[in-house]
Structure formats: structure tokens, C-alpha cells
């Protein structure tokens, strides 16, 4: 954060109206100002003698963890939320942000984003590569983040490309105001697979069947892989028992000279380690979910079949025709990241996905499915439309409350990062958006966005 920006931040509640003397360029000046100008109560904020302490006062706080708090305060320090409530003690020297007449919400999450993902990462072939991690392939110098941030979006779920059958682990990243190192909230949300997502122009049913069959095959192979390893471990234990006292090597290998000279049972051969299978093994052990992008009924049903067969934890991604079979999804308690909600950001060639309905999210939610919304855009910049997508879903039966939940708390829960983002509560990351009205009404301006306790966007006077 630059000194100039620091100065602006310490200037006034909204950073724009304070007199010049209140907008020092350097933090040293802030101290001088503090000495020269006795603390003003009420009106403008005190210069931040205690950097990083923010008190957002007087707003309507939608915490997503209980009823909204009218005229409450959110206290932030060291990147975390320290207190949320009607009466919060504000330490001296905190920067006081006047949010009266505004709405304070958790920073929004795009649960299906392309932000920070190099276009090439989306183009991997049709191979099975579950061992890849999208966070290894992100571009920290992508400048789109700054614009996405201006729309209140503070976290994105970066998903590996749609061409691969099993494209690796997705991740959750914080949106940064400037290019630079990215904050990774999670580098292993779920292994991404797809069933029936058109690769290029191929939408044939054969292609769609083949994608299902290949994923199933990979999971079956992983079962064998695990069996082979279990067998090896069993054999090794037996071998070691039998050779007890003769050698000291526990699980070592290739130390043939230490083998007993007498009766020579064959030491079991160690199977080879396969990184992809290791990741899929975690899926089979329910340590990491499999998220499958599927849009048509047949493809969604096939994804659900994988859950039934292998007992894995499943997340459905996309799920355009979910509205036709909400019961099937609900009874298996499979959460859904609904995308696209608004069709403007999807390349027309990909609209062959199935029968879209703007009421898809509402139909799923009504059946009891836990849903998040993703923009599912064709490029990173599209993540700025999280509010628009939530608004579309809200208007089409989801309602504003659930729609907001779908892009905050629910998204965080489905992505396994609710310990850090998605709600405003003590101890969570201080990711906050202050909006000048109804949060999902896109006519309401985003006034300020805070990421990890730092003001990352602040609307200027002319905006």
C-alpha cells in the first residue's frame, strides 16, 4: 500500500471530504498532525495512530451469522474481525469509517472464477491430471483483480480448465488491489472433473459417456492402487515380523545387504508412487471432495452415480439442468455451485450445455440443496458480476437473502473455507464490503472494500 493511499485512508470516514491537512502523504506527517490537531471527536476520523485498526460504524451489518444488526460496529485489527455488534468498544486511534445509511456485508465470493488463471491453464488436453494444483498456475500479475475488487468481490474460487477430465485441485484466492503475491486461502478445495462439458464442438453423447467412463475408470484404478499399497504394507509387515531380530530396517528398501542370510523370504516389492493416484486416493478416503462440472440431466445423474458407487464427497459445478432433478441432488446432500446464472458471460458456443433456467438456483434451494453461485465467466474480469448474478437468481425465485448467502457464507462453506471468509464474525478474515444500499441491487454503489483488514478499494469523490 502506498504512502499516498495510506494518507487518503487516514483522511476521513470516506476518504474524500477531509481538508487537505488531514491527508498527509507520509505516515510521519500523520503523527505531526496528531500532535498539532487535538483529537476531533465526531466528524472526521483521527489519523491512524494505530495502523490497521478499523471501526466501521453505524451501518446495517448483514453478518450472515444471525439477524442483521442495525447501526452496529465492525472492529478490525491485524487483518481479522475482532468484534461485531451493537455496542463495540473502539480503541483510541482506530480509523473510524462512517457507514451510516450503508450496508456492511462480508466480501463476496465468486465460487466459479477465471480470475488469476492463465488462459493456457484452461486449455489443458483431455488427460487425467488430478495432481495439478491451480494455485501453482495462477498469474499474480493479472491486473483484473483491481476491477473485480471494486464490485465487492474479495475471494474467488479458481477452477482448473474445463477440457481435462480430471483437471486437478482448485483453490480459493483473495482478490488483490494490485499485482503482487496472492493470498491463497486454500490450495486444495476439490479435484475438478467434468462430465459431458463440450470440448470444442464435441457435444456427442459418445463424448459425454466417455467422460463419465474415464472418470469412473480413474477411480477404479485408484482403488486398485490403494489395494496394491495395502497389500504391500501387509506383506511388508509380515516380512518384517518374520525377519525380526535379523535386521533393523523398518520400512527401508534397497538395503539387500541387511537381509537375513538364512532362509530368505522375498522382500515385498514396493509399488511405485503415483501423484495423481495419491490425490484420487484422498478423494476415495473423503478427505477432499470431487467437484464435477455437469450440466445436462444425464451427466448430472452420472456424477451422482459416482458418489453412490464410490462414497465420495461430491460437489456439483454448473448444474444447468439441476432444476429438472432437484430431488435427486437434495437426497444425496450434494452441494451445488450454480453457474452460469446469467448467460452473458458464457461464450455462445458453450450454451449448448443444456436447458438453462434463471430459476435454477431457486429450484435447487427449494428442494433443500445447499447452493453457491458462480459467475462461470469466460475470463477473469467477469468475476466482477457476482452481484449481478446473485441479483438475477434473487429475482428468479431465490430471494435476496438466500442469493446473498449463496455468494458469501454458503460459497465459503461449500469451498471449505468458512473458517476464514463468508461471514462477519469475530476471528474471521476482515474481508468486508460497504455498499450504499441494498447490497445486490447493482445500482447501489460499492463504497469501500476491505481485504484482510486493509482498505483495498475506496470510492473517490468523483465516482
Amino acid at each position: 500500500m502506498t504512502a499516498a493511499r495510506d494518507g487518503r485512508i487516514t483522511g476521513s470516514p470516506r476518504g474524500t471530504l477531509a481538508p487537505l491537512t488531514m491527508r498527509p502523504k507520509l505516515s510521519i506527517l500523520s503523527v505531526v498532525v496528531v500532535l498539532l490537531v487535538p483529537l476531533q471527536t465526531g466528524l472526521a476520523a483521527q489519523p491512524a495512530a494505530e495502523p490497521g485498526v478499523l471501526a466501521i460504524e453505524g451501518g446495517r451489518i448483514i453478518t450472515m451469522a444471525g439477524e442483521p444488526i442495525e447501526g452496529g460496529t465492525v472492529l478490525v485489527s491485524e487483518g481479522k474481525i475482532r468484534a461485531v455488534g451493537q455496542t463495540v468498544e473502539i480503541p483510541a486511534g482506530a480509523r473510524r469509517i462512517d457507514a451510516r445509511g450503508k450496508t456492511v456485508i462480508p466480501g463476496l465470493v465468486d465460487a466459479f472464477s477465471r480470475l488469476y488463471v492463465y488462459p493456457q491453464e484452461l486449455m489443458e488436453g483431455t488427460q487425467i491430471a488430478p495432481e495439478l494444483r491451480i494455485t501453482d498456475g495462477v498469474d499474480p500479475y493479472d491486473e483484473d483483480g483491481a476491477e473485480v475488487l471494486q464490485h465487492g468481490v474479495t475471494s474467488v474460487h479458481a477452477v482448473p480448465g474445463s477440457r481435462s477430465l480430471l483437471g486437478g485441485l482448485s483453490g480459493v484466492l483473495k482478490v488483490a488491489p494490485e499485482p503482487g503475491p496472492l493470498t491463497v486461502v486454500s490450495d486444495g478445495v476439490a479435484v475438478r472433473g467434468q462430465i459431458g462439458v463440450p470440448a470444442g464442438n464435441s457435444t456427442s453423447s459418445l463424448h459425454r459417456l466417455a467422460t463419465y467412463a474415464s472418470i469412473r475408470e480413474a477411480l477404479l484404478a485408484t482403488r486398485d492402487y490403494l489395494w496394491t499399497w495395502r497389500k504391500y504394507e501387509r506383506d511388508l509387515a509380515q516380512y518384517e515380523k518374520r525377519t525380526e531380530g535379523n535386521g533393523k530396517d523398518g520400512n527401508g528398501e534397497g538395503r539387500k545387504e541387511q537381509k537375513p542370510k538364512g532362509e530368505k523370504p522375498d522382500r515385498p516389492r514396493k509399488p511405485s508412487t503415483d501423484p495423481g493416484s495419491e490425490v484420487l486416493a484422498r478423494v476415495l478416503r473423503e478427505e477432499v471432495p470431487l467437484q464435477i462440472e455437469a450440466h445436462r440431466v444425464a451427466d448430472i445423474l452420472n456424477a451422482l452415480r459416482l458418489k453412490d458407487e464410490f462414497g465420495i464427497e461430491l460437489i456439483l459445478l454448473g448444474c444447468s439442468e439441476g432444476h429438472k432433478i432437484p430431488g435427486e441432488i437434495a437426497k444425496r446432500e450434494v452441494p451445488v455451485i450454480v453457474a452460469p446464472v446469467s448467460l452473458s458471460f458464457v461464450p455462445p458456443s458453450r450454451l449448448k450445455y443444456g436447458e438453462h433456467s434463471r430459476a435454477n438456483a431457486a429450484a435447487l434451494a427449494r428442494a433443500g440443496v445447499k447452493i453457491a453461485l458462480g459467475v462461470g465467466g469466460s475470463e477473469g474480469l467477469h468475476s466482477k458480476f457476482v452481484r449481478a448474478c446473485a441479483a438475477v437468481a434473487a429475482a428468479n425465485g431465490l430471494g435476496r437473502d438466500l442469493a446473498l448467502r449463496a455468494v458469501t457464507a454458503n460459497a465459503a462453506e461449500i469451498l471449505g473455507v468458512s473458517d476464514r471468509v463468508g461471514i462477519l464474525a469475530e476471528g474471521k478474515d476482515a474481508d468486508i464490503a460497504i455498499i450504499g444500499g441494498e447490497p445486490l441491487d447493482i445500482r447501489s454503489k460499492v463504497e469501500m472494500v476491505i481485504v484482510d483488514g486493509a482498505v483495498a478499494f475506496e470510492r473517490g469523490a468523483g465516482d
Binding site: 452473458s344 438453462h356 434463471r358 427449494r366 429475482a395 441491487d441 447493482i442
Partner: protein, 377 residues
């Protein structure tokens, strides 16, 4: 009591049968809503009466004739049906252009329009009642555009506008023009030939006489400058579309009398593009919104306007752009675009303010007939 005669099967399919049945030739009274007339004041608690497909009266406490269906709009908002100023709805991709005929003056995409396509049903439910159905992007002279209703009467105006494409998408390797200078040369020649009077290219002659509006698709700043120059040279009544350069249009178009068709939700939505409508309006340019559907979704037209408002466009201007200004731009303002006695009965009832996109579209009426009604949950 009620009739559904005259509805096409495709249209009938989207009607959600409610207890009161379909609307009707017997009239429709939308009662007690906030009526955004667009051409005049916004009226609180007013009624709109539609008879024989036309708006028969607007005002407080209207009484409906026997047999008319009454819609309670108390607490809701009523505005004219939205106009999408450039769209390819109802066309399959292959039907948009005859690629080997770069000067497709006679091509009429309306001939390939099919009202049964699913995207049309979706679009109608979002409040869009009129679209300008346009050819594609591969011919310098794309052909004739028609104003089409997404409901009963269908064809509002057959020859509503001419489409010109000043973008690289109109250049081909295997036919002329292959280059931008070639493209401009071709357009100049065709327009000059049409200039004197009614030559063979009747359509272009009408355009040169200013009798039919021209829509010019551009792919960048340079292209938009060329369009402005060409329009000025031939005195075209033109509007410019430049999806990726809209923010640069104020400087190029200020004072030219040309209009701009905005597409803020399509392609690469930078902040500059989102705020372009506001900047364009400040420069005194007339605006309309378009989806270029299926390039972006017709259902997001309202969101486009709302984003423009968030970026500083006056709310009234945004609504005008979505209705009356767009209607003027495609030459059908005598029929649609405002709630006035005598105009077509094209109405949208929304639960919240027209541009509050978190609230649903409740009812859409085209030519006095209900084409969409939200199911009550």
C-alpha cells in the same frame, strides 16, 4: 369471457395459466401501479387500460369494460416493454449471413426468424418486448434489420434499419473485400451509387436520404472514427456500436448527431466500458442498449441499464435508453417505447423499481396479450 385465439403455439407454451386465464381481446387493465410513462411524468397509483392491443387510457381510477382482465399492480411498477436495439434472437448461427455476398442489401434475416426458439421465450420473460433483428458480422453491408415483437403481432417493421459492418469480421480471404481500405471503398461505392435517387439498391438510397436508420458495427476506435466519417459524408442517420471502444466514443461522436448502442455486459467489461453510457450521455449522445443476443443474454438488458446507473447514468436516461430512445433509434417510436394512449399495449410489470434487478419481472404484455406471468410461489 376469455380468448386465447391468435396466440401462436410457441407463445401459448410460455403462458403460465393462472386462474384468471389468459389475456385477451377483451381488454386488460393494469391497476394501481407506479406507471413510468417515459414520455411524461411517472404516475403513482395509476391504471393502464389496453384495448384491442393498444393503450386506451392511462390515469387514476379507470374502469374496465366487461370481460377485461384486471391485474392488480398495487405496490408494483409498470413501464413500457424494453427494446433491445440489436439482436439475433430466433436465428440459428448459420442463418445470420450469406457470407459470399458482401453487399447483402436485399438479405432479410426476418425470413429466417423462427419464433419457436427457446431463447425467445426466455427473452420475453425478462421484459424485452421488441428487438431489432439484425444480420451478423461477416458482410460490410449486412442487410436489412427488422423490428420484431417477442409476442403477438411479431413483425413491427420489416425494413427498420440497415446494418453496416466496419469491422475485421467482414473481411474474408476468398472474396472481396479482403482489407479495411477495400471494405471502405466498397461501402463508398455502394452508397454513392445509391445517392442520386432510387437506383437498384433501394435500401441504401433510403439510407442516404435519411429515411431509414443505419446501424454501424465497429470493432475499435479507428473503426468507429471511420464510421462517423462515413455517416457524415453520406448524411446517414446512424447509430454506432463499438463493444470494445464505447468509452472512447464521446470524443469521436460528440456533435455528430449520431447515436450509440451500448453493450456494457458483453465481451470484456472493463470499468471504462461500464461507465461509458454515463459518459456518452454527458456528451449529449442518444443511447440505446442491446444484447447482440446470443452474444450476451437478452435477459441481462435490464442489468446493463442498472450497471450504467451505478456508473453514473441518470436513472431516467437509462430507462429512456431501454425504451423510448431505443424505439426512436430503430424507427418505431410511433408504436412502442412509452406508455401513451394510442401506442401498442407493450407493458412490463416489475415487483420493484424497473431497474432493481433483484426484484422479479411479474408480467409482460405484448400487444395487449400476456406473454409472461410469473408463477406465484
Amino acid at each position: 369471457m376469455r380468448r386465447s385465439a391468435g396466440l401462436t403455439p410457441a407463445l401459448a407454451a410460455i403462458l403460465l395459466l393462472s386462474t384468471n386465464g389468459l389475456a385477451s381481446g377483451d381488454g386488460l387493465l393494469v391497476r394501481g401501479g407506479t406507471v413510468w410513462t417515459i414520455s411524461g411524468d411517472t404516475l403513482e397509483g395509476a391504471d393502464v387500460l389496453v384495448l384491442d392491443g393498444k393503450i386506451a387510457a392511462v390515469g387514476p381510477q379507470l374502469s374496465a369494460p366487461d370481460g377485461a382482465r384486471t391485474i392488480e399492480a398495487n405496490g408494483k411498477h409498470v413501464c413500457p416493454g424494453f427494446v433491445d436495439a440489436h439482436s439475433h434472437l430466433g436465428l440459428a448461427r448459420a442463418e445470420r449471413d450469406e457470407e459470399v455476398a458482401p453487399g447483402a442489401t436485399d438479405t432479410l434475416v426476418l425470413d429466417a426468424f423462427w419464433a419457436g426458439r427457446k431463447d425467445i421465450r426466455r427473452a420475453a420473460s425478462s421484459g424485452v418486448t421488441t428487438i431489432l433483428l439484425a444480420p451478423g458480422y461477416t458482410n460490410p453491408i449486412g442487410g436489412r434489420c427488422s423490428a420484431v415483437k417477442l409476442g403477438p403481432g411479431r413483425v413491427l417493421k420489416r425494413d427498420a434499419a440497415v446494418k453496416l459492418v466496419l469491422a475485421e469480421s467482414a473481411l474474408m480471404r476468398d472474396r472481396k473485400p479482403t482489407s479495411m481500405p477495400g471494405l471502405l471503398d466498397m461501402l463508398r461505392q455502394e452508397l454513392s451509387a445509391a445517392a442520386p435517387a432510387e437506383g437498384e439498391e433501394e435500401l441504401l438510397a433510403d439510407a442516404v436520404r435519411g429515411e431509414i436508420p443505419v446501424q454501424m458495427f465497429c470493432d475499435g476506435v479507428a473503426s468507429a472514427e471511420r464510421a462517423a466519417k462515413l455517416a457524415n459524408e453520406f448524411g446517414l442517420r446512424a447509430s454506432v456500436m463499438a463493444p470494445d471502444a464505447a468509452h472512447k466514443l464521446p470524443r469521436i461522436l460528440e456533435g455528430t448527431g449520431l447515436s450509440v448502442i451500448c453493450l456494457p455486459l458483453s465481451t470484456t467489461p472493463t470499468e471504462k466500458l461500464l461507465s461509458a453510457p454515463a459518459r456518452l450521455a454527458e456528451s449529449g449522445l442518444k443511447l440505446a442498449f442491446a444484447s447482440l443476443a446470443p452474444l450476451s443474454d437478452t435477459g441481462d438488458l435490464r442489468s446493463s441499464a442498472a450497471f450504467a446507473v451505478a456508473a453514473g447514468l441518470d436513472e431516467g436516461a437509462a430507462l429512456r435508453a431501454l425504451t423510448l430512445d431505443a424505439a426512436e433509434l430503430i424507427g418505431v417510436a410511433d408504436r412502442v417505447g412509452s406508455i401513451e394512449v394510442g401506442k401498442d399495449g407493450d407493458l412490463v410489470v416489475t415487483a420493484g423499481e424497473p431497474l432493481d434487478v433483484t426484484r422479479p419481472v411479474e408480467l409482460v404484455v405484448v400487444d395487449g396479450e400476456i406473454v409472461y406471468e410469473r408463477e406465484a410461489r
